[in-house]
Symmetry: C2
Subunit: 502 residues, 2 copies
């Protein structure tokens, strides 16, 4: 592990160097996870530019031992991180890590093969086709999304990629019929609860920004879309000579965990030949439990489905499963066939055989990592039963928290919980319904909790109400941590309410 | 490391579990790298569907110990992999791995933070801004691409992502002026040597396929673009009322390692207000050596530059540096600002401060990995001097090979080598100039070499000639391996030529 010089031949893949550098990180991470609960979840004294100022302006001329580098990580980097793996991280959605996920990513990164075409690593491409079928079965997806059933899946990095790819497939299918000039007449639909990724993706593929329809939802439908609202929006556009292209349905929205009724709105969209995408980025993981599979009812009406194992499925960043019912649509929009990717050798005649999947034609990028082995190792290490237990303990903890909130007259549950996300706030004071004042109190409450370093939560705004989100799902989050955050919230609530009463 | 059951509470981040699972992989990888040179670089008896058939149709119900899983990796997966880390892998471009790269990725994946907005992990965002500045300095990029100089960089996953993002930025800048309907009049330019990623990216962002201009190159310019050819193409389009949007210049093309003269064509493009992107995916790494920096001359005329440390810079998959001169253009095209990403707490007033970079607005996806710490650890572990030595030993080995080829009258160098890629073939037989026959012989030669399992190379076709590519650059590839592949080629050439003479 000494420093490197020009005199010494570099052996970057020497087994001793691999063992030495890896061992240093392994020890570092064991220490990190022993202490992660002690760090402020989010550093309280944040100030932009502070870390940048600590670091030199240029890379070092000479190599350094790993231990020196890790010393700087401890001193300069760790204090400025938000600790997503703290058991007290309840912000955004969880980004699960696990011992098997870390190990599996080491294996993927260690082998470092690039399965962009089948022949570039046949076993990697085939393992991917197997593992996406495994996942589809675990979630009870319709057979049409399995390779086994004529569809198929791919592992990408994020929902945004999946949305871009399926939007491009839908767009090119439509433009193949209408001509490219019709691009300005294509319209896409989602709700006011749909993730911002959708508008970003639609814009990326060239949909006219004024043709994004953001359909209003309300408490009456639990902030899910309704068939009536979709129909009204689509009929209006058809009347204007526009072309309905793509509807994004969400099971478990980011703000509130709301659920769009897939069957109802899928039937509506189908009437107009629209592409229906089902985004289950967060809540899809819950569908490994039978009691949550009904939320995917109607999935057979969708053209594509995606979910992120890197959220709540013990899979370290990054991994997004995308399934399509008709791979040909996706491949038509994304394929390339340059000379330097044709293969010469024993497999001259395999091109076009269905089992020889060139995954570069299923995604944005040509190059790609060996994500399949990551997800495969995780599924084998924990098994379906282990995953169900992981999901259920968080749902149970969220349920416990929701009950406490509901039973405390100072608080209210703003939207009933479906999965492991609780949306709540300090209730308006009796006899008043001043949302501005209530919002201020809640904003202060959230700021006080986050400033304590003992928990990190984020917020949402719905119908003018500032809502605090407790997203349970961290890999090491137990009921005990949820109980402690409830204590913390009650304590800070007393302080904040006192402040407003004086 | 025993199997998991519902009776046992799951502790996916228990330090003992982390140590146990990681150690199993560490041992596995040490063994793999001790033996990697003994595997056939590419399995010879490939048959699509073989691996798929070995694996069960469904995920296991119960978890398994890591050792069992790794036993299956050895038996079912390894024999079907193409071993990109073999020192005898000369195909495509290299995908470097290294002990520091593996360790650094472990660290990134182990911390598993998601620095999509500054506040989601301030130190991660700031480290990224530092490390892209370090890289720009190492390659001698103009100051305008550094944060330090008003520009800035981001770490993405691939060149294709970088191309999509910059195309979207260029497109939206133009459409902001011309209105969205003008999208069908936008024209993009590249050469017949530009990577297929470019046409894929242009199509993704909605450029009309008939508006991709593929400008012919020839041996006379070393298969680089010329200002004259660019001017002729652009003038023709302007005459037709079309709008020149974007020119992709490449330093080190995929097929032949050709170099577009950035200054000449950059000036031409600038005359029409086009966005110029400089793609140095592979050869950019060489610019860490002073003797290769002149190939980037004229980079100050570009709007964006990208290169992939995951190719030839000892960085395990994946990592692409993208620099832009005007971050505002990129952010305008890619930003989103939903309520659930606004931050509440001590940093309420940091939004908009330049040091608080929200990297989600610099890329396609919202979520992202902590790639900065990977590249930062690698740069510190090997230092600039170590990286230069790494590049130079491959360039020297490629030069050695090129000289042997040139000195052997049976062979010819088809395009003079610039970096570490040698493009050669068996020469046409004396007195004949039948390219079809010569192509057959070379195709058979490449197939014979690849079938031997002792090396893996790929090919290209230029001016009707089938060319064999020797891409030197594997992290463990030494001169000795290049010498051995030259012996192998000579032996197979004798066999193949005998076959054709009988």
């Amino acid at each position: 592990m000494g420093s490197l010089s020009l005199d010494m031949p570099m052996k970057p893949l020497d087994p001793h160097a691999i063992a030495g550098d890896s061992q240093a990180i392994q020890d570092f991470l064991a220490e990190y996870y022993r202490n992660v609960d002690k760090y402020p979840v989010r550093a309280a004294d944040l100030e932009p530019g502070r870390v940048r100022k600590l670091l030199p302006d240029a890379a070092p001329e000479h190599g350094e031992p790993m231990d020196h580098i890790l010393e700087d990580v401890r001193r300069e980097i760790l204090p400025g991180l938000t600790h997503w793996q703290s058991p007290r991280f309840f912000a955004f959605f969880p980004a699960n890590a696990s011992s098997a996920g870390l190990a599996a990513e080491m294996l993927s990164v260690g082998l470092n093969v690039v399965p962009f075409v089948w022949a570039a690593s046949p076993a990697a491409a085939e393992l991917e086709s197997v593992v996406v079928d495994w996942m589809a079965r675990l979630f009870g997806l319709p057979r049409r999304f399995l390779f086994f059933g004529g569809g198929g899946g791919v592992l990408q990095g994020s929902t945004c990629e999946a949305v871009v790819c399926t939007l491009a497939a839908a767009r090119d299918r439509a433009l193949g019929r209408l001509g490219h000039e019709a691009i300005a007449r294509l319209v896409v639909y989602a709700s006011d609860q749909t993730h911002a990724t959708f508008q970003k993706g639609a814009r990326l593929v060239g949909i006219k920004p004024s043709n994004f329809r953001v359909i209003r939802t309300s408490a009456a439908s639990g902030y899910g879309l309704t068939a009536e609202a979709v129909r009204a929006a689509v009929d209006r556009d058809v009347g204007l000579g526009l072309v309905p292209l793509y509807l994004c349905a969400t099971v478990g929205t980011t703000g509130l965990g709301a659920v769009d009724p897939v069957r109802e709105i899928g039937e509506e969209a189908r009437r107009h030949g629209m592409w229906v995408h089902l985004d289950a980025a967060y809540a899809g993981s819950a569908a490994i439990c039978r009691e949550f599979q009904d939320y995917l009812d109607g999935a057979e009406l969708a053209d594509s489905v995606s979910m992120n194992p890197h959220k709540w499925f013990l899979t370290n960043m990054d991994c997004c499963c995308l399934w399509v019912a008709r791979p040909r649509d996706l491949i038509s929009a994304l394929s390339t066939d340059p000379e330097y990717l044709k293969n010469v050798g024993a497999d001259d005649d395999v091109a076009g055989k269905p089992a020889a999947i060139d995954y570069k034609d299923w995604q944005i990028s040509m190059s790609r990592r060996f994500r399949a082995i990551k997800l495969w190792v995780i599924l084998r290490r924990y098994g379906a039963a282990g995953m169900r237990a992981h999901i259920r303990r968080h749902v149970a903890a969220a349920k416990w928290f929701e009950q406490r909130v509901a039973a405390d007259e100072r608080f209210e549950v703003v939207v009933p919980r479906t999965f492991s996300l609780v949306c709540f706030r300090l209730a308006p004071r009796v006899g008043r319904d001043d949302d501005d004042a209530t919002n201020h109190v809640n904003r202060d409450l959230l700021a006080a909790v986050n400033a304590s370093g003992r928990a990190f939560m984020t917020h949402f705004v719905v119908d003018g109400k500032f809502v605090i989100r407790l997203a349970v799902g961290g890999a090491s989050t137990e009921l005990q941590h949820v109980m402690e955050v409830w204590d913390l919230l009650q304590g800070k609530a007393v302080e904040v309410l006192q402040h407003y009463q004086t």
